[in-house]
Subunit: 203 residues, 4 copies
DNA sequence: AATGAATGAGACTTCATTCAT
DNA sequence: GATGAATGAAGTCTCATTCAT
């Protein structure tokens, strides 16, 4: 549900639509390869459009990064209902957390954007939360109803914990992210941890 | 124990030493203010030296960032023995983890450097681990010996988990980092989590 | 009597005619606001047409500027007969010079175009002269016949002098232009000045 | 008395000084050739320096234009005492007005800057007036004392009148400027004109 | 050893103009 | 005829790095 691509969804010319898609696809690739500070030219060349086209659709660099990330987040959120429909509640939760872990682990741009301090990304955590929070909450509720986990877990805390723990780091032991998430989930079952975790964020 | 500043420790002229210190101090400030990509001029102006002096001591931008971060890491490691001497083992562990949390939470540059993808920082996680691993291990061992926690905990996993969970994020609920660390520690006490956590990193 | 708009006066579709008028009106406004180098988009947005329409009617930027200015010049020339019909010759001359002064003082684009050095405007002084020369000459002749001024005055010199002296300048004393024109007219009455002024332009 | 070049007159390195001079000289040439909007590269190439050097000394385009113009104005003002020392008062006045006319006629950038509307040039008319006003006033006073002209003439009005009348225009009859100045001077001798001209500007 | 002026590659951005719709 | 999306050349300006002083 990207601001940029959906603000005027009516009547976008087909070629314009095609170009925007090509740019987002190219940007995703280039960001993964050269980071979010890659020269604009690199992206437009890969997308096969002129630089002017990039600037028409994404006047600020941050607009492009946000569009790319939001696209990914959307895809991740959209995966939840399907998993819930096809698996047991407990399994669906685990599979979706794997999906989330994979997303965060793959998208270096996401962690970078979160930590950049650029005000352009101020809305990103919120978007992340708005979009994935409900998805995770319904999975958690279903799992709790099924007795797979206990209720009372903060989707918000879990979401950000995964986002942070699974952010890729150079030379990182590949199982690290999943191991840590497992540890968190385990912790959420303990009485002591429950007491800590249930403490709601004050702000 | 910075590579750059200690490579030739003998005979550094007093004024040169003063300049290096001023640069490190200035860089720490500027990195916190404007990020690690801040123009070199901003740093040299604050330090009151010419740009040439910066490049003499830190030929690459990464050299400067590493020196700044390593200085902080050194200070953090050096705090462990003092805490161990003055507090009960369990308390010392908690206090030191607080110290670590504060360091990570404060130094935006650290999280940025870790996630930047710049090969210049490839050695940073190792440095972080080499320097703080033993400090944490001895605190963990003492706490375990004292019965405050159970043995078998991976200092490495814990170190990186704190580094990641406590990295600052815009608009973040201030208690988040400590809450998550508490959750991790709680998780380390469970049998299930223990099983997961004890799995040693393969590399 | 614009070249551009009158080149094919037959059969211009009503909507096309409306667009051209809207463009000229918009261009006049934008030129006054942002200068003659204003982006084409600014003009087309104000006129409510697409850029393509601008380029259809005014392939070169200079075509548009000329059309706008010539429109103004035409209006100025057309005012002469009316004034001559309704006022004493001497008064009509003064009133028309006021009208000219006001035109020049208001249209920054005119002075800018004159001094731009762009070859596209090479014809502008001539147009200015062709169109306003006769108007002024008949006013001068009538005034001279009436004894209000002496004969022998060069309309050409007077025209350009007004154009230049009354071109607006930032922070200019508002009465400056009229004061200078009065000074010129006064000068034209003296024997000495007459001798100078009567020297005909060599080209 | 350029702001830019004189703000910190002490201790400018000789090579820096040489570069600034080369830039001013090159800019003067290029402005005359290609106008004040000429690409920066054109100027730096002619000056034999890198673009960075231009931007170090003249961060804004307007700074460069002002420096060039102010240099010319300075030279013009400095010519007054010499002429006054070597000629009769009346002749000195005429010669200096010729000098002024030549300056204005040659420097297209001056007229362009005056009419550009760019706030950066707001101070230019004042500078022009501050620097040349006294020069002209002393020449006028000497000529009046000598009986060559009558007293009471506004140096300010005369200065701007010359600046405007002598600004170059494409295809202009070469004698136009001097003829108009002569006409103004003649006008200043008449009683009627005197009455008009003596009216001081209200602002 | 320190300084800061000079360099120039290259990023960003704008906008006149074309042309598919 | 009208539209506005796409193009990409052209220009501005920044800043890491070098090197003369």
């Amino acid at each position: 549900m990207s601001d940029t691509t959906d603000r005027a969804p009516r009547r976008m010319r087909t070629d314009a639509r095609r170009n925007v898609d090509a740019l987002l696809e190219a940007a995703k690739t280039v960001f993964a390869t050269s980071g979010v500070d890659a020269p604009a030219k690199e992206i437009t060349d890969l997308a096969g459009v002129g630089v002017g086209t990039l600037y028409r659709h994404f006047p600020q660099r941050a607009d492009l990064i946000k569009a790319v990330i939001e696209r990914e987040i959307d895809a991740c959120a959209d995966a939840a209902p399907a998993l819930a429909a096809e698996h047991e509640p407990g399994e669906a939760l685990v599979l979706w957390l794997d999906r989330l872990t994979a997303f965060v682990a793959t998208k270096r741009g996401f962690a970078t954007a979160l930590h950049s301090g650029d005000p352009a990304f101020d809305g990103l955590p919120d978007f992340f939360l708005q979009r994935l929070g409900p998805a995770l909450e319904s999975l958690l509720a279903a799992a709790a109803a099924d007795g797979a986990i206990r209720p009372g877990t903060s989707a918000r805390d879990l979401l950000f914990a995964v986002a942070k723990l699974c952010a890729p780091m150079p030379d990182e032991d590949p199982g690290y992210g999943r191991r840590m998430v497992a540890l968190l989930v385990a912790g959420l079952r303990t009485t002591a941890a429950d007491q800590v975790s249930r403490t709601p964020p004050t702000r």
